[in-house]
Amino acid sequence: MNKLMIELHDVSKIYQVGGQEVRALDQASLTVREGEFVSIVGPSGSGKTTMMNIIGCLDVADSGQYILDGLPIDRYSDRELAAIRNRKIGFVFQGFNLLSRLTAEANVELPLIYQRLAMGDRKKLVNEALQRVDLYDRRKHKPQELSGGQQQRVAIARALVTRPSLLLADEPTGNLDSKTGAEIIELFHELHQSGNTILLITHNPDIAKTASRMVHIFDGKVYEEARA
């Protein structure tokens, strides 16, 4: 058995919306091992984005325990969480979230800048990541000069460049046509093959099914589907 990457124990998150309590996550528990490719499916409003934010250390749970790669996340300061996001997690968003002013390589370089790596080291890692997503020859282009699929591949390169423990993808194909979306999913499968741990959030059951494990989320609760 590989080591545990994600451990969520009875995690709850409550929002106040217009004076009413909304239980976005209700005692949700989930464990993911290193090297797994897990998809999380659920309708909108089910709490999957909240779960993704907590797993991604962008938000902290109100109750329950979250351990990422052995680190008890609820015990860290804002500054330490930033460092954990930087080193442990690679985000891939639905809307790509690239900085439009920067070239592809500068976008990929961004997480490394916050690691304060030397220029030469950054350059090497950026080139590797861009080659991994097959966009090395387009590294000088700005996001608006790239197609949607290419932009998402730049975003994946940015997520990969720090060699994170976990790739966290939130609807990565949501803004792409089905053919391009399939290429992106194929890329995730390749990354999984080469040892990355991937958590894919989607509302598309066809995409979710391609993962090695599928988790349903509904009304803030987690339902696991046992598969062979």
């Binding site: 934010n53 991604g56 962008l58 938000d59 804002d78 500054r79 930033a82 460092a83 996001r85 930087n86 080193r87 985000f91 968003f93 979230n97 690239l98 900085l99 002013r101 920067l102 961004l110 997480p111 800048i113 916050y114 690691q115 304060r116 940015r158 720090t162």
Partner: protein, 393 residues
């Protein structure tokens, strides 16, 4: 990290060139106002000070209004000179005379003095010599002309050893002074003729001894001691009446000039500093807009691992870079403007960039960048990553 932040700052400044330039314009105008105004005042002040110092700062000009029935004589000045604090003492008695040479007849100012008067003023001779001690002792009827006087009476011909008539008496010309370009000479009549003190006192119309003389200290650094010695000498001589005489100290004039120009510098500098402050408010305004516009960017940066401090630093550096770039452009333009002002002044005053005020302007730019950048930067740093990521501008 600093280098990276500066690069990021330049990226975002160049991404919005016109807006960045307009923001900088406030700082540019403020810096120009500060640097140019203060440099103008300090250059003008230097020029005035220089003019005043050509009159001799180590000089005590003394006027006696009431000699208490005992006119001051040369012997009195000799007695004064015996004081170790006093260097030279030279009388200057003047009278208006009618001077004639050939067919030229003009009124002129005739000064009676001693050789030391010329030494004190470091006068240079164009021709001949200045008065000599033997001229005084023998009461020789000799005169030294100012260059203007020589021009007026002799034109192109050589005045040396010529005879000219002053109030009907013949005098021999023994020397011509170099042109006097000092500020004081421009303000007074230029037809000046110098003759031995003893000759002038003998001429009709000049009675009552020395009422006007100049004194130098034995050491230029001991002006105060010299002034004290002179005062106590005159007090003793003039029956302890301190209103019977007046001592004018050139260095006092200098310090008054200095005070006035300093005050002017502070006043104009203060007004210019207000315009810099307004420029700073412009920076804050644009930085606040920029922080809102770039909410998504802040969210992305936070998601990939930027801590609050990194975001704060980035926006602060951006405000600082705008402020300092504005400052640099302002200083360069100020330099150009001062060169133009020097050209317009026609060489009368050389307007120089005052290094002190350049440093002050740079210090101001840093303070303004930080002061007006810190709040927007703090706002940027405080944004929650999830909400920032969700922001759609």
């Amino acid at each position: 990290m600093i280098f990276q932040s500066i690069r990021m700052a330049f990226d975002s400044i160049t991404a919005n060139k016109i807006r960045s330039f307009l923001t900088m314009l406030g700082i540019i105008i403020g810096v120009i106002a500060l640097v140019v105004l203060v440099s103008l005042v300090s250059s003008a002040s230097d020029s005035v000070t220089e003019q005043v110092s050509t009159l001799g700062t180590d000089l005590l000009t003394t006027m006696v209004f009431d000699d208490k029935g005992h006119p001051l004589k040369l012997a009195d000045l000799d007695q004064l000179k015996s004081n170790p604090a006093i260097g030279q003492a030279a009388p200057l008695v003047q009278t208006l005379v009618t001077a004639r040479h050939g067919y030229t007849e003009e009124p002129a100012t005739l000064y009676g003095t001693l050789p030391s008067y010329g030494e004190i003023h470091h006068w240079q001779m164009r021709q001949g010599r200045f008065l000599k001690t033997s001229d005084i002792d023998n009461s020789s009827y000799v005169v030294v002309l100012s260059l203007e006087a020589a021009d007026k009476f002799f034109g192109q011909s050589d005045p040396l050893n010529e005879t000219m008539m002053l109030n009907g008496r013949p005098f021999t010309v023994v020397g011509v002074l170099e042109e006097d370009t000092s500020l004081m000479s421009v303000m007074t009549t230029s037809v000046k003729i110098y003759t031995p003190f003893t000759v002038l006192t003998r001429m009709s119309g000049v009675r009552g001894g020395i009422s006007n003389f100049i004194v130098t200290p034995s050491n230029p650094r001991s002006m105060d001691e010299a002034e004290e010695a002179l005062t106590s000498f005159l007090m003793r001589r003039l029956k302890e009446d301190d209103s019977a005489f007046f001592i004018f100290n050139q260095s006092n004039l200098m310090s008054v000039v200095g005070m006035v120009t300093d005050m002017l510098s502070y006043l104009l500098g203060g007004i210019a500093a207000i315009s810099l402050l307004v420029g700073g408010i412009g920076i804050m305004n644009i930085m606040l807009v920029s922080v809102t516009e770039r909410t998504k960017e802040i969210g992305i940066r936070k998601a990939v691992g930027a801590a609050r401090g990194s975001i704060l630093f980035q926006f602060l550096i951006e405000a600082l870079v705008i402020s300092l770039m504005g400052c640099a452009i302002g200083i360069v333009l100020s330099f150009g403007l001062l060169r133009v002002a020097t050209l317009i002044a026609g060489g009368l005053i050389a307007f120089r960039l005052s290094l002190g005020i350049v440093l002050i302007a740079m210090g101001f730019a840093v303070i303004i960048g930080v002061l007006f950048g810190i709040y927007p930067a703090y706002k940027a740093a405080g944004k929650h990553p999830i909400e920032a990521l969700r922001y759609e501008g």
